[in-house]
């Protein structure tokens, strides 16, 4: 299956920040609204996989990841559909992918 690629360090920031826009720079919510969600919708429409590359940044706080990827799962109200169209790459942090998948799975349980 073809892929649409997001490399967070190139397409958004090398220093991912907080949860919400009012809280500080480069928030997860802004990343969701401006990049992740439009690309995800495009991937679904074009029957493609959205490939998210997490490498080459200063690291990801839980607040950013939860807002972005948990937020995406909350938008679709279904973790399965989100996970089905996402693929991840994280060589810098070996447990980041499992963390993100957990935020997606837990997003609609709250």
């Amino acid at each position: 299956m073809d892929k649409i690629i997001i490399k967070i360090s190139d397409d958004y920031t090398k220093t991912p920040g907080v949860r919400e826009e009012i809280e500080g720079d480069f928030p997860g919510e802004e990343f969701l609204e401006k990049i992740l969600l439009p690309k995800f919708q495009q991937a679904i429409a074009e029957k493609k996989i959205l490939y998210v590359d997490f490498d080459d940044t200063a690291g990801y706080p839980t607040s950013f990841l939860e807002a972005a990827f948990g937020g995406l799962a909350r938008h679709y109200k279904d973790a399965a559909i989100v996970l089905k169209h996402l693929e991840f790459k994280s060589d810098d942090d070996p447990f980041l992918i499992s963390d993100v998948k957990e935020y997606i799975n837990e997003a609609n349980n709250k």
Binding site: R19, G59, P61, P94, D99, E102
Partner: protein
């Protein structure tokens, strides 16, 4: 190979010495017959003399070396987690979390992930699947710890750790540290 040659030389020297003693000191009596029990004793003694230093000791030395590397890695991981714990304590005492503190904490969690990943790889390589349960528990605690320290409003301007968050962080930190201490014991027992 060199050990084999040295062994052969030593056997040759032994035979030569025996023949020389028999030739120059004929007063030493030599038996023509060999007792079966003595022969077996001799063979077993030679086997043990060769087997223990060459094979068994080398194997034991290799195992000990592997354990030492794993224990050093566990201690390294404990040290990184201690840095996070100290930073959170410091932030609570100062009642502020600077951008520098935030970056240090996030960076430490990247290190924690990589150190844990290396540790799991080494343990699986040396001890196969025997410590799977313990490692799964440590992985879960790492996830929980990161969520507690960098979740919520972490990174927000004027973000502060509350006493309640600190207490929760302290509980998970000590659980994680305890699991890692137990892992050192288990690695040493294998």
């Amino acid at each position: 190979m060199s050990r084999f040659i040295i062994g052969l030389i030593l056997v040759a020297v032994g035979i030569a010495l025996g023949l020389a003693i028999a030739h120059y000191y004929p007063s030493f009596p030599f038996e023509d017959k060999i007792n079966a029990v003595d022969l077996i004793t001799l063979i077993v003694t030679i086997f043990l003399a060769v087997y223990i230093p060459i094979f068994l000791e080398r194997q034991m030395h290799n195992h000990q070396f592997e354990k030492d590397v794993i224990v050093r890695k566990i201690e390294g991981l404990q040290s990184t987690l201690r840095d996070v714990n100290r930073t959170v304590t410091e932030c609570l005492q100062k009642n502020t979390v600077s951008a520098q503190n935030s970056h240090a904490v996030v960076n430490s969690f990247v290190s924690v992930s990589n150190e844990l990943d290396t540790l799991i790889t080494l343990i699986e390589l040396c001890h196969k699947k025997r410590l799977d349960t313990e490692l799964a528990s440590i992985k879960n605690l790492r996830h929980e710890y990161k969520r507690t320290v960098t979740g919520g409003n972490f990174g927000r301007r004027n973000f502060k750790y509350t006493a309640l968050t600190k207490k929760e962080e302290e509980v998970i930190y000590h659980k994680l540290d305890k699991e890692l201490c137990i892992l050192i014991f288990l690695v040493n027992r294998i």
